[in-house]
């Protein structure tokens, strides 16, 4: 258990923002980012940075009172530092995650083999492995690089990457053949064909992503950035033209205060937090054990309209389980139940275990039959069971369960007769999409056990949440329409495709996309790869094949298809956080105008005092209070930026109403109170 991503995930994703070392790194980062090549990447904060230089210059030139001049300069510098700090905190958190991942990537030596010609093993450093190489990995060894099992099966501990401590089974030729470099083989020996280029392994990409090294701005981020730039330029025009307008009525405006006004007006709150929000989105996805291949993928998740998922392994457990006993007329339910349980006691298959479980649930006593001879299932007999009292020499009591025709032959061989009712019962169960197993006791047929695919616990609730968010779920299954409808109703999906072939998935995705919808697809098999690639959001299961993982734009390390819900939430949360903080930032400006404009005109136009609605103590304090609020709000909102605005699945209008109330109206009112409070503190401190 090495990965801190795991510990933070398990702590309910509300850990302390940073540890001590991370904090130190973030503080250092805040200063490092003052360098021009970084500072000018963010136009909003670049204006503040230039403003700092300007006020420092003005103060040195002696155009203003040095006390106020240096105070304003310091506050502007602190504003830039706070914004840098926000970004550095997000990056430091990413680096923490990356460090724990790096521990998994050690210098390994691989045992290379040539599968075509055989021959001796060559020992090759893992870093030199190329796609197409074959390596042998035995129990206790680490897999040197990403690949696909071509021979054998093994249990593998993937905790270094996924944080999941339970070992997983990987097998050649199945949909669960992909293995990740750095994970450990626990049992058996496998031959792995390497699929990753050196330096482009899963782990490498993950590390790069969480470090934000190759983070590209998402389309929404670019669009919002343009809007923020527009507002910044607007305020620049406002402030530059103001002294000329004021000059007409004889008011000389202090350039220092004009710079202060400009910095207060431009959207520094959102401008300073925007990079942090972007990095935090990726980190949150990873904290949920989802590896997004780009920030865009996370954002797209927020827009998903339709979710396509395979029934098997996603909605249902994917193995048949006993759900009901159907006794024939004249047979006690208890008798059938007990017989079925006895016949299954030694059955190690999931079906057999589920029969025992169901019988227990329905009141059967756990018994350890004496003198029992268990008859295992075989492909020839297609039944299993138990002979009781076999040792006593008397005719044993032969209890069997199996396919209808197998039991029929067995009963007839014992001289029994086939009840007429049975055929109808068997057909009834089969038609509902379940599998019938017939149970017999000697020559008597007792009844039918219904085996059906069981819908996962809690999945209905998840689909209901998706519906609340506006996402339609479509189940894809190979079942007949009747069964599909029954399962769809039970799981609460909105739609289903029955008797689906692999190409039907692709067709359905294209059809939904042609209708203008954004489609998410969850899949794991190689035949899912085209659909995963076609879908706007392809979430591949980590347990799936390499092809599926390459095709999708996200990989779920826990292989939990319902994880999509969390991804969608993260995507939406990221957009909401940006929108809400933009609204907040602009709404704040109203109060800042009321703080600074009266201060600006106080000397030349005394009647402007009427606009000093906050009754701030002095023009200098008014400007300082506004600037302090403007600076301090950035670090105060860092936790919100990193964790995201609270999100509850709800309709768009309800979300809008809530966010407008909190961040719009709240954004107008809060700074009035805060600036007044800061002014009172300033008065108290200065002892005026």
């Amino acid at each position: 258990m090495t990965a801190s991503i795991v510990s933070s995930h398990q702590a309910g994703r509300a850990p302390a923002l940073l540890d001590r070392a991370g904090l130190r790194a973030a503080v250092a980062g805040a200063f490092v980012k003052l360098a021009p090549q970084h500072a000018f990447k963010n136009p909003v904060m670049a204006v503040v940075w230039l403003g700092t230089l300007l006020t420092a210059g003005l103060t040195l030139a002696g155009t203003t009172a040095p006390g106020l001049g240096w105070a304003v300069t310091a506050l502007l510098l602190v504003t830039v530092l706070f914004a840098n700090f926000a970004e550095a905190v997000a990056e430091a958190r990413g680096r923490g995650q990356a460090a724990s991942l790096r521990r998994a990537r050690k210098d390994l030596v691989a045992r290379c083999v040539d599968p075509a010609h055989g021959g001796a093993e060559r020992r090759v450093p893992a870093a030199d492995l190329k796609p197409g190489d074959h390596v042998v990995v035995s129990a206790g060894e680490q897999i040197p690089a990403d690949g696909e099992i071509v021979r054998g099966l093994a249990t593998i501990n993937e905790s270094a990457v996924t944080g999941e401590s339970a070992p997983v089974l990987r097998e050649a030729g199945t949909d669960r053949s992909g293995v990740i470099g750095g994970t450990q083989v626990l049992s058996d020996e496998i031959v792995v064909r390497i699929t990753a280029e050196p330096g482009h392994s899963f782990l490498d990409r993950m590390i790069a992503l969480v470090e934000g090294a190759n983070r590209q701005k998402t389309p929404n981020e670019i669009a919002l950035g343009l809007l923020l730039l527009t507002m910044t330029l607007t305020f620049l025009i406002v402030v530059v033209t103001l002294p000329f307008v004021a000059g007409f009525v004889g008011a000389r405006l202090d350039p220092l205060l004009l710079v202060a006004l400009l910095v207060c007006l431009i959207p520094t709150t959102i401008g300073g937090l925007l990079p942090a929000i972007g990095i935090a989105g990726m980190n949150r996805a990873l904290a949920a054990n989802v590896l997004a291949k780009s920030g865009k993928a996370v954002e797209v998740a927020g827009d998903v309209d339709v979710l396509l998922l395979d029934k098997t392994g996603t909605i249902t457990h994917g193995d048949r389980q006993a759900t009901r006993f159907h006794p024939l007329a004249g047979v006690d339910r208890e008798r059938l139940r007990d017989a079925a349980m006895l016949a299954s006691l030694a059955d190690p298959t999931p079906e057999g275990k589920s029969i025992v479980r169901l019988a227990r649930e329905q009141g059967a006593q756990p018994v350890e039959p004496q003198q029992a001879l268990f008859v295992a299932f075989s492909a020839q007999t297609r039944m299993s069971g138990v002979d009781l009292g076999a040792d006593s020499g008397a005719t044993p009591r032969r209890i069997r369960k199996g396919a209808a025709d197998a039991i029929l032959r067995h009963v007839q061989a014992l001289g029994g007769v086939m009840p007429v009712e049975l055929a109808a019962r068997v057909e009834q169960v089969a038609r509902s999409g379940a599998t019938p197993l017939v149970v017999s006791d000697g020559g008597h047929v007792l009844g039918v056990v219904e085996l059906s695919d069981v819908v996962k616990h809690g999945i209905k609730h998840k689909f209901a949440q998706m519906r609340a968010m506006g996402i339609r779920t479509v189940m894809i299954t190979g079942d007949n329409p009747l069964t599909a409808a029954a399962i769809a109703a039970e799981a609460g999906v909105d739609d289903y495709i029955a008797e689906a072939r692999p190409e039907d998935k692709l067709a359905r995705i294209r059809q939904e996309q042609a209708g203008g919808r954004l489609v998410a697809m969850v899949g794991d098999g190689t035949n899912d790869a085209p659909a995963l690639a076609q879908a706007d959001l392809g979430l591949a299961m980590n347990s799936g094949t390499q092809a599926a993982k390459e095709a999708g734009n996200m990989v779920d390390l826990d292989s939990d298809p319902a994880k999509l819900l969390e991804v969608v939430e993260i995507g939406k949360q990221q957009l909401i956080t940006r929108g809400a903080l933009t609204t907040f930032s602009l709404a704040n400006d109203v109060s800042k105008y009321f703080a600074i404009l009266p201060a600006l005109f106080a000397a030349a136009i005394p009647s402007m005092g009427a606009l000093n609605v906050m009754q701030l103590s002095s023009p200098a304090n008014a400007v300082l209070a506004a600037l302090i609020f403007n600076a301090i709000i950035i670090p105060l909102l860092i936790p919100l930026a990193l964790r995201g605005v609270r999100f509850r699945p709800a309709g768009a209008t309800a979300l809008l109403r809530r966010n407008m109330l909190v961040y719009g109206i709240g954004g107008v009112l809060l700074p009035f109170a805060a600036i007044k409070l800061i002014d009172l503190l300033l008065t108290a401190v200065s002892g005026a």
Binding site: P219, N220, A223, L226, L227, T230, M231, L233, T234, F235, I237, V238, V240, T241, L242, F244, V245, A246, G247, F248, V249, A251, L265, E299, G302, D305, R467, A468, M469, G470, G515, G516, R517, K572, L575, I576, R578, G579, A580, T582, T583, L586, A587, D589, V590, Y593, L597, F601, S607, M608, A610, L611, F647, G651, A652, T653, L655, L656, R657, M660
Partner: protein, 567 residues
């Protein structure tokens, strides 16, 4: 108050059927009246050599718009600069100086009607009847055409019925010529005819003769005789009111009894100001096939309109200038201060710009309301351009609200991305750049400006002039010595920058959206036709305007008000 209720009630009752009729006209499907109107329209199409059924992409559409404006503009300019030598000049008006001719031409070409001349003295009947009235007829319909094309784009292009059924072609935003000529012939002309007759009946002059000469009653005027200038005034007043034009026959506009003789003519003229802008809100739903859209547009605009009108009436009634007869200078003395404020409110809400009181004389806070109306320029707004501006706010509102609901912002199912935001940003930035830039230059150099008012009122006056020009409103804070090279040329630039980008950029955005895949409305889609979104939209309009212009408004009308209060 009666007049206030009457104007709005009549505008809504008449605007509803008119809007639906307008929608049918703009859709261009076969309709009643095709035969008589067709006989007028077909020769015009033939003369222009255009096929009214031919679809146009946004570039072709905007190109046709600009080309038609250039041709009409040059012709008008020639008339203004040669009118002294042309017929129909009974009052002997001289040729206009080039800068005044240019400003006047651009002012009327941009549906603004800002007047730096006095019509009765400086323009011949020919100039009034061709250049002025011709542009007053054509330019509002051009705005309407651009709106129609933009709306088609927002919904994926013009609906075309072909063999495969109904489809939309994103490269077909309609035909510019049909979009201008159809509503001009079928809506504006008949309405103007109706209003001309009604106004003539009320006593507005309607003649081609020069005016009578009379002996002034007041001997202190020291004039032997006064020539009363008359002419075909009634038709011009009709179209100036109906077409959100505002440029009157006489310099003082509808404050002159000859333009506005009776209380009934006053009501008719005020109704005409708001009628078509209100009707367009009803047109939108029927035209786009999205009924609820009308509810959003009408509801939002009516809310803002009632708030703004209420504020103007309230401020004027509280003003120290309203009660005292001596302080009625510049107001509509016959009807009182309240109708003056009402007219001032609606004329600035609709980008009309005709006046029946001098806005310079309004209480400072009423002046603030009129400036605010023009800064928003989408509380009804001008014909076509009002809704174009509304769409700009709508896009901004949807962008912000979309983010706040956790989805990539989209309007009518089409995503708003960096390209659209870039266009939007340029348009948003243009307004403060032009208004504050010109205001700052003019105020910094009083010698070039010739401002007549000192102090805060002078700031209001200058800012008002540029705001009015940029909003294509045309009303003025009178008293400005505005027929100078500086004013003529700087406002000409403001007029152009306020008209063409505001009409064409939304069209370009719509064309870009038309090419995108439209997502159907789902439960997660932000619904814009809700009170929550409408309030969000109003908040966006208010906050944006406030943030851009609060400092200059504080130094102008608000300081003016505070100074008056301190007296």
């Amino acid at each position: 108050m009666t007049e206030f209720i009457l104007v709005f009630a009549l505008a809504i009752v008449l605007g509803w059927p008119l809007g639906r009729y307008l929608a049918a006209v703009m859709r261009g499907a076969p309709m009643r009246g095709d035969r008589p109107f067709g006989t007028i329209e077909r020769p015009i199409y033939r003369l222009l050599g255009v096929d009214p059924a031919q679809g146009m992409g946004w570039k072709a559409y905007a190109g046709a718009f600009l080309a038609s404006n250039l041709v009409v503009g040059v012709l008008t300019l020639i008339v203004f600069m040669t009118q002294a030598w042309l017929p129909l000049n009974p009052n002997g008006a001289p040729n206009l100086r080039w800068d005044l001719a240019l400003h006047t031409m651009v002012s009327f070409l941009t549906n603004t009607n800002q007047q730096h001349y006095s019509g009765q003295a400086q323009l011949s009947h020919l100039a009034q009847m061709t250049g002025i009235v011709g542009l007053q007829m054509a330019t509002p319909m051009m705005g309407l055409a651009l709106l129609a094309a933009t709306l088609r784009g927002l919904f994926g292009g013009r609906e075309t019925a072909d063999a495969a059924g109904r489809g939309r072609d994103p490269a077909d935003l309609g035909n510019y010529w049909a979009d201008v000529i159809r509503p001009a012939v079928r809506v504006l002309l008949p309405l103007c005819l109706l209003w001309s007759l009604a106004l003539t009946w009320q006593g507005v002059p309607s003649t081609l003769h020069g005016g009578p000469a009379v002996v002034p009653v007041d001997a202190s005027a020291q004039m032997a005789e006064q020539k009363i200038p008359v002419g075909p005034v009634a038709p011009m007043v009709a179209v100036k009111q109906l077409g959100s034009n505002g440029g009157g026959w006489y310099g003082p506009n509808s404050a002159v009894p000859l333009e506005n003789p009776t209380p009934l003519s006053n009501l008719l003229e005020m109704l005409a100001i708001v009628l078509i802008p209100v009707a367009i809100t009803f047109m939108v739903g029927a035209f786009t096939g999205r009924r609820a859209l009308t509810a959003l547009v009408f509801g939002t605009m009516l809310t803002m309109s009632l708030a703004s009108t209420g504020a103007a009436l309230w401020s004027e009634s509280l003003s120290g200038t309203s009660g005292d007869v001596a302080l009625m200078e510049g107001k509509e003395v016959r009807f009182g201060a309240a109708p003056s404020a009402l007219w001032a409110a609606v004329t600035t809400q609709t980008s009309n710009g005709s006046v029946d009181a001098m806005h310079d004389s309004l209480a400072p806070l009423t002046g603030l309301v009129t400036i605010g109306n023009m800064l928003v320029n989408a509380i009804w707004g001008g014909i076509g351009c009002g809704l174009q501006q509304f769409l700009v706010y709508l896009l901004l509102g949807v962008f912000l609200a979309g983010l706040m609901t956790g989805r990539t912002p989209e309007l009518f199912g089409r995503k708003i991305e960096a390209h659209e935001v870039k266009l939007l940003a340029a348009l948003v930035l243009l307004q403060p750049l032009v208004l504050l830039g010109f205001t700052a230059i003019t105020l910094a150099l009083p010698s070039i400006a010739g401002t007549s008012n000192p102090s805060f009122h002078g700031i209001s006056q200058v800012f008002y002039e540029y705001t009015s020009a940029f909003a294509n409103n045309g009303s003025g804070f009178e008293g400005l010595g505005d027929a100078t090279y500086w004013w003529n040329l700087s406002t000409t630039l403001a007029l152009l920058l306020g008209r063409y980008p505001a009409l064409i950029v939304p069209l370009a955005i719509a064309a870009s959206l038309a090419r995108k895949r439209a997502a159907p409305d789902g439960p997660g889609t932000l619904r814009i036709e809700t009170p929550t979104f409408a309030l969000t939209l109003i908040a966006v309009v208010l906050i944006l305007t406030l943030l851009q212009f609060m400092p200059v408004l504080v130094l102008g009308p608000i300081a003016d008000h505070l100074a008056l209060r301190a007296l």
